[in-house]
């Protein structure tokens, strides 16, 4: 028995380190110009899935949608104990907004087959929208619990957890199937297992293999596991609903935030300088 759990993860550019060169003229992001990382909250979703599997048994399938190099987050997932990984990759998915993304993910989840739970991070650090989870859940016509900060109890038929809200916490219960978005408060993600790193470090997606033959020189890579790679046809998706053509939102304008010329009054880092600043603020009744 056990639960069939699908975890959705995303490889994201590390938005802490962005240069001007990372933006393309059309306003879309040149992801190749930035270091790519496992979206932080998705690691917490994966951790919950693995924890549930350890308690109840079952199967954890990780899906990511992205370019071939996104296989890295699938490797990271294998290192942490997932059972199966799928790379959803097709040029026709490019330029998708959250609606088109959730449509493609819906098709992929349905292609995986039966499931009890879909887990994903609350939001990705590149788009910061947090919309894909609820949109996917609507498209799958299942219940959703967002902002989950603590999963208290999972049985074969229901899940109880806490949602973090502006007012505090809400203890909620749902049956299956359901989609949960998990926040970073939920758990402490485990580190990769050394044994699993050895076992899976050479996995690659089939497309990479097709045009990168360097792996032939590497003895150990010869036995490399090939990741399932699905394209638009594998999941039976309607191309009109994918990528740019499936996206209603358009970027009208991108403004690089230009820092205004400094008007800051320089205060000397000395007792006198700071003392006169405090006096000035007091006189103006800003403090006091």
């Amino acid at each position: 028995m056990g639960l069939n759990i699908i975890v959705l993860v995303k490889q994201v550019p590390d938005t802490q380190n962005i240069t001007q060169e990372a933006m393309k003229p059309d306003g879309t992001v040149n992801r190749d110009a930035l270091p790519a990382i496992f979206n932080p909250e998705d690691l917490h979703a994966l951790e919950e899935a693995i924890k549930i599997k350890e308690t109840l048994g079952g199967m954890v399938t990780v899906i990511t949608m992205g370019p071939p190099k996104a296989v890295e987050v699938l490797k990271e997932s294998m290192y942490r104990g997932s059972d199966d990984v799928i790379l959803l990759s097709d040029k026709k998915f490019a330029g998708a907004d959250t609606l088109a993304t959730s449509y493609a993910l819906k098709c992929a989840v349905q292609t995986v087959g039966e499931f009890d739970l879909v887990l994903c991070g609350g939001q990705a650090i590149d788009g910061d929208t947090g919309q894909v989870g609820p949109q996917l859940s609507e498209k799958l016509n299942i219940n959703q619990l967002t902002s989950i900060c603590d999963i208290r109890e999972v049985t074969e038929s229901e899940i109880i957890g806490f949602r973090a809200t502006e007012q505090g916490y809400e203890k909620v219960k749902s049956g299956f199937p359901a989609l949960l978005t998990v926040s970073s408060e939920a758990n402490e993600p485990r580190s990769p297992s050394a044994k699993k790193v050895m076992a899976y470090k050479n996995i690659q997606c089939s497309e990479q293999q097709a045009y990168d033959e360097s792996y032939l020189d590497n003895k150990c890579a010869r036995d490399a596991m090939i990741v399932k790679q699905w394209n638009i046809d594998s999941i039976g998706a309607d191309p009109e609903k994918c990528g740019l053509s499936g996206s209603w939102t358009q970027v009208k304008k991108i403004e690089n935030v230009v820092l205004a010329a400094s008007e800051a009054k320089q205060i000397e880092n000395s007792d006198e300088g700071i003392s006169s600043l405090i006096k000035e603020l007091t006189q103006e009744h800003i403090i006091g």
Partner: protein, 336 residues
């Protein structure tokens, strides 16, 4: 179907009280509706009667659609999206607004998916304007501005070909304004067609947590960045906040790093603040942070890096180590 020119606001409420964010949205919606030549409408989904909806007129709202059903007593995704989806389909607003709150961010995407229309998250500015693409001009559509990509860019997003234009809006960025308290609102009570089969989540318990930090109404905020996370600096930040009678704020990395609670977070993903005085201690000043504090009346920036972007929005800049500057400030204040 031909859509109206109306702007519809989803009203969030807690303990039978309308949330502040909803009043902020209604206020902004009145400006948008004026530009569109339409009216402001509100949707209230509730488990019990809410007297306060009679007062929504003062924020410029003309009409409230109210659905009352015991299954709507607590917010849960499926009943709320089903009930709201029906109202939106029937009354076809041009624009549909939600707060970018836990509730709004749960509900809005579900509605957008169901109605198959565009949705823009976490907007900081909304206006009505034109959009030209491939020789075609779309007039009087919603232009939605939001910081994106870690706040390094401001994107203007449009969805001219789907109706309604949907957006979630951050708390605290739109100004609540009461137009006239005598303004009346028309209340339209609608039948609920929810069934018990729609109830897929059960709210077992609601734990209220009083916020330990009240950044929104703080007059003075002393905020710590990654340049002030060592124990000594953090204590200094707390002490300065204490002597000035202010609150302690924090940048996102400080909260993500576990140095201070989320309640302290100022910025795009935290709280938007407008204090009289904001003292940024060791904060580099990422755009995302500045989006949340740039409108402070006075800003003092303290940073050891003279090129830190925080100095660009500060009124006073002190180049130096937080550890050295803060004791001098505390000292100077006490002596003054």
């Amino acid at each position: 179907m031909q859509s109206s020119h109306n702007v519809m606001v989803f009203i969030e409420h807690h303990d039978n009280r309308v949330a502040e964010i909803s009043k902020e949205l209604l206020s902004r919606a009145s400006d948008l509706a004026r530009d569109l030549g339409g009216e402001v409408e509100a949707v209230v989904l509730t488990g019990e009667e809410m007297e306060e909806i009679q007062d929504l007129g003062r924020y410029g709202c003309s009409r409230v659609y109210c659905v009352q059903d015991k299954r709507l007593a607590n917010y849960t995704s499926v009943p709320y999206s089903k009930a709201l989806g029906k109202v939106v389909r029937n009354y076809t607003p041009h624009v549909l607004l939600f707060g970018a709150t836990t509730m709004g961010r749960d509900l809005a995407p579900r509605i957008a998916s169901e109605l198959n229309c565009g949705l823009t998250a976490d907007c900081t500015e909304l206006e009505i304007g034109n959009h030209k693409i491939k020789g075609k001009i779309y007039e009087n559509i919603l232009l939605q501005r939001r910081p994106a990509f870690g706040g390094n860019i401001i994107a203007t997003i449009v969805s001219p070909e789907s109706k309604p234009s949907m957006a979630t809006v951050r708390e605290g960025v739109m100004k609540k304004q009461e137009l006239d308290e005598k303004l009346q609102v028309e209340v339209v009570n609608l039948e609920s067609d929810l069934t018990d089969q729609d109830v897929l989540s059960e709210v077992l318990e609601i734990q209220k947590v009083e916020k330990k930090v009240d950044l929104k109404s703080a007059k003075i905020i002393v905020a710590a960045g990654m340049g002030a996370v060592d124990e000594k600096s953090l204590n200094m930040v707390r002490e300065l906040a204490h002597v000035l009678g202010g609150e302690v704020g924090a940048s996102r990395p400080v909260v993500d790093g576990g140095y201070l609670d989320k309640d302290h977070q100022v910025g795009q993903t935290g709280t938007t603040v407008r204090p009289v005085l904001y003292i940024a201690c060791g904060i580099s000043g990422q755009v995302q942070h500045r989006a949340g504090m740039g409108e402070a009346h006075r800003i003092i920036a303290i940073n050891s890096d003279p090129n830190a972007p925080i100095f660009d929005c500060a009124h006073y800049g002190i180049v130096g180590d937080v550890n050295q500057v803060l004791p001098k400030m505390i000292q100077a204040y006490k002596e003054n």
